[in-house]
Symmetry: C2
Subunit: 223 residues, 2 copies
DNA sequence: TAGATTGTTAATCGATTAACAATC
DNA sequence: TAGATTGTTAATCGATTAACAATC
């Protein structure tokens, strides 16, 4: 229905993409990487859907939000689709990330290998405990929270992880916003109030277990 | 204010409750606990909605899935609604939980205080590294994975957290299923294949950062 | 070519929001 | 009583699924 330039990735993603689609995009990426790991060169919407518990139609519809990545009669070339999804998610590059809060969780996150493999690298950690300042964890220097703005600017940090107690989280978030951070992954069990121009993702570990508890208690036939 | 049988929590929750509603239920609970902490005795759907970024109608509709908890003209009594939501989620009791995998993440989870406050307590940890067996972390004994069934049965464990490398996760999940576990919280970056009678919640830390990356890259007016 | 599978449109299904009588 | 706020129904909106022509 058009002529000159067919296969451009159409409108480069507006605010019209449902959040649920973006979540599934990450799952497709993970599954595709697994498939490559197992030696598959191509896959298709039925296989991807079956692995993840989605319909084939949903897989195709989700991808269609971002462009045309498949080959009728063939399916999808894994490596090609992986590259395309990484570009969409913004993880075709490596993001410098900061961690705030060096308790159990903060330290564990600094040591977690999974981030580096997906396009994120820790470049600074922050705490308010003077005993920890200057320390190095996994090769990452620990700064005082007071130096946040300075370090964020110097290292070009745009994303931060909040791993402080709930009572301190909002103050830390405010400091991060003031320092110019653009996105916050929050592990503190509170709802952060943030300006619209700062993105937010929240993970509450206790809530995840609550969801599991609900599922177990309310499983069909389970009093 | 009623007599014989009006205000029963109606049909005690079928499979008709959308997953999204259950997620929000946990958020309502967290917010209510915060409100109590701040000294509020009552709240209402507008306040709860505003704090969480939902409409007041959604708050009321969500709660209506489970019964009638409010007072027209008044709102909701915080403590009362907290008790009701805990009962719905199944966290009005304390669940014995097992952790499998004592790497950085597994250890951090064992030490994390947030679980105990919400109705979960660790009663056993498992690993395959013989150096760790018999060790005690935060007062929790570390067993060999081979003893899973035995310990699970002895301690009445129904929920487990998987914090092992992705390459080991499915085998661990299979062992958990064989041991009679009913729900798995999975931190490994793989999609676990589980029988229908075992519930599953997945948290992939890298995926959470990917979602943040996407949000930042595709923010309105941001090339 | 015949078979397979895409991208996309239309139909269905489900979830959110608005509105309001009932109630405290 | 007047004011506030619920629970619930109806209207709207959005997301998922089914179906199929186009394509490799």
């Amino acid at each position: 229905m058009d002529d000159s330039k067919e296969k451009q990735p159409p409108v480069p993603v507006e605010s019209t993409v449902p959040q649920a689609v973006v979540s599934r995009l990450s799952l497709y990426l993970r599954e595709l990487q697994q498939l490559v790991h197992e030696g598959h060169a191509t896959t298709n919407s039925t296989q991807l859907g079956t692995l993840l518990g989605f319909t084939d139609a949903q897989v195709r519809k989700d991808l269609a939000y971002f462009g045309q990545f498949g080959y009728p009669g063939i399916g999808y070339r894994c490596e090609e689709l992986i590259a395309a999804i990484k570009k969409i998610l913004g993880t075709d590059r490596s993001w410098p990330v900061a961690v705030v809060g060096l308790g159990n969780l903060g330290r564990a996150l600094l040591r977690y290998r999974g981030f580096n493999q997906q396009g994120f690298r820790f470049v600074a950690a922050f705490d308010v405990d003077t005993h920890k300042i200057g320390e190095t964890v996994e090769g990452i220097e620990v700064f005082h929270l007071d130096d946040l703005s300075e370090v964020v600017a110097a290292k070009g940090i745009r994303l931060a992880i909040v791993a402080v107690p709930g009572s301190a989280a909002q103050a830390v978030a405010d400091a991060l916003v003031a320092a110019g951070i653009e996105g916050i992954l929050n592990f503190a069990p509170v709802t952060l109030a943030l300006p619209d121009h700062v993105s937010r993702v929240g993970v509450d570990l206790a809530i995840e277990l609550e969801q599991l508890s609900f599922a177990v208690v309310n499983r069909p036939e389970n009093p």
